[in-house]
Amino acid sequence: MDFKESGIMYAIAAVVIAFVIVQSVFFIVKAWKRAKELGITKETLKNTVISSALFSVAPALSILTTVIVLASALGIVLPWIRLSVIGNLAYETVAAQSVLDVFGVSLSTEVSDPAQFGAVAWVMTIGSCFPLVLLPFLCKFVHKKIGAAVNKSEGSSKVGDVLSAASFIGIISAFIARAINGKTSDGVGDAGFMSICVLVSSIIFSLVLETLCTKYNLKKLQPFAMPLSMFGAMGVAILLNMFAPESLVSFTWWG
């Protein structure tokens, strides 16, 4: 049996997965109890759960894609572990490639030396663990300082509302800007015709669904509006890829 997919690797994966789930359940239970004390309705909490679960399906499948991409070199279990704890789409690929560069191999070749495999595991771990070192020292400080600043500005309700909206918009703007003009490190999904069409479609789907929910008081549809808009736009990407001229589909600003 391939050492990368041996029993011990699956056992390690099981421990990591169990840890992530137990931690998530712990925080959900604590927050749920506090929400009840704060008078947040059961319906709001239920909608939060449904919407968040649905919303996570497509990005999770996208993460799964990275697991599969890395699996050709590292087996399926290590990428699975790394993308279940701290990992992210871009980081793990870069970290793995950096180690394999040292050994003069690439991600397109299977790692057959356990020592190289161990080195990959170490670099992926050390490179990504820094936030966990920072959080115990920094999180409370940042949370309190920024919280105090926002609460101060909320003395004027209008300023508070505007700054709150602005910070949300700032986050979303980064991703909108990337869809309009960004470039990926591997050249897949660079900004251009497809990214802009998908972006505009999802905005249109979202606005249409929001209007329908408001106009016809469709409260049950509301938690599904956001995931449905996202899936709709992903469907547009598939249709464009099938039916639009190749020159348009492959057009990006970055050539």
């Binding site: 050492f3 011990i8 998530s24 712990f26 604590k30 927050a31 929400a35 909490l45 909608n47 968040s52 679960a53 996570s56 999770a60 499948l61 993460i63 894609t65 697991v67 599969i68 699975w80 993308l83 704890v85 980081y91 970290a95 950096s98 040292v102 356990p114 161990g118 170490w122 670099v123 490179g127 990504s128 663990c129 820094f130 920072l134 920094l138 999180c139 940042v142 505007v162 709150s164 909206a165 949300f168 918009i169 700032g170 979303i172 703007s173 980064a174 991703f175 800007a177 990337r178 470039k183 999802s202 905005i203 249109i204 789907f205 979202s206 606005l207 995931p227 808009s229 990407a237 598939i238």
Partner: protein
């Protein structure tokens, strides 16, 4: 009123205590992975090989980590932050999940209501993702390459998942606050002209600052 403030402080303090314990435990679990691999297979990679690779990775990712902790913490809330940094995939999953939930529940990120809603949304998102990846790996790994390989009919859907996600998330905000939205998007696009592959954590920091400054200016000019 005084009692409420006291209760609020106590809850946040508790979250930070839990969060610190979980972060340290997560760090131990994380480091245990390569340790277990090396112990079991009895292979210890040469320190200089690991160091050579780390020297390329650390300046970028450790620097970004500092920016990310400062940027994400006010947005995700305390519980959401501790959870997100353990489970990862923040910008493409946990952050939008938290923002979407707070928007739907009509609560502010920095309020205690925002704190609990964000934590629940991020917790559910983490469980959903973990389960989907686990099921995908265990049951569907033989067929998944056919769905996700570049020639698959579904491939474009996954390639453009982020524009689809943030377009849907941003639509409502942009409709209500289009004057605030223009400036950070323009700044983001301009930055990308000069640094097209800039990491998300750094770009986020720039666009958030741009959005806040732009909004303050609009307020001062009484345009909003």
């Amino acid at each position: 009123m005084k009692k409420n403030k006291l209760t609020e402080r106590t809850y946040f303090d508790k979250v930070h205590t839990w969060g610190r314990i979980w972060s340290v435990t997560a760090l131990a679990v994380l480091v245990a992975v390569p340790v277990s691999i090396c112990l079991y297979f009895n292979v210890w990679p040469a320190a200089q090989d690991v160091f050579k690779a780390l020297i390329k990775v650390i300046p970028l990712y450790w620097g970004t980590a500092v920016i990310e902790v400062i940027t994400y913490t006010p947005m995700l809330g305390a519980g959401g932050t501790y959870l997100s940094f353990v489970t990862g995939n923040i910008s493409n999953l946990k952050l939008p999940a938290g923002l979407n939930a707070m928007e739907n529940a009509k609560v502010r990120a920095n309020s205690e209501e925002g704190e609990v809603i964000s934590t629940i949304a991020i917790g559910v998102s983490a469980i959903t993702t973990t389960v989907i990846i686990a099921v995908g790996v265990l049951l569907f790994s033989p067929v998944l390459p056919y769905l996700t390989n570049p020639d698959s009919v579904f491939a474009p859907a996954f390639t453009y998942v982020l524009p689809a996600l943030f377009g849907a998330l941003g639509a409502g905000y942009f409709k209500k606050n289009w004057k605030i939205a223009i400036f950070p998007i323009v700044i983001g696009c301009l930055v990308l002209v000069f640094a097209p592959t800039l990491v998300v954590g750094t770009l986020l920091f720039i666009t958030i600052v741009a959005a806040m400054l732009g909004a303050m200016l609009l307020l001062k000019l009484k345009w909003i």
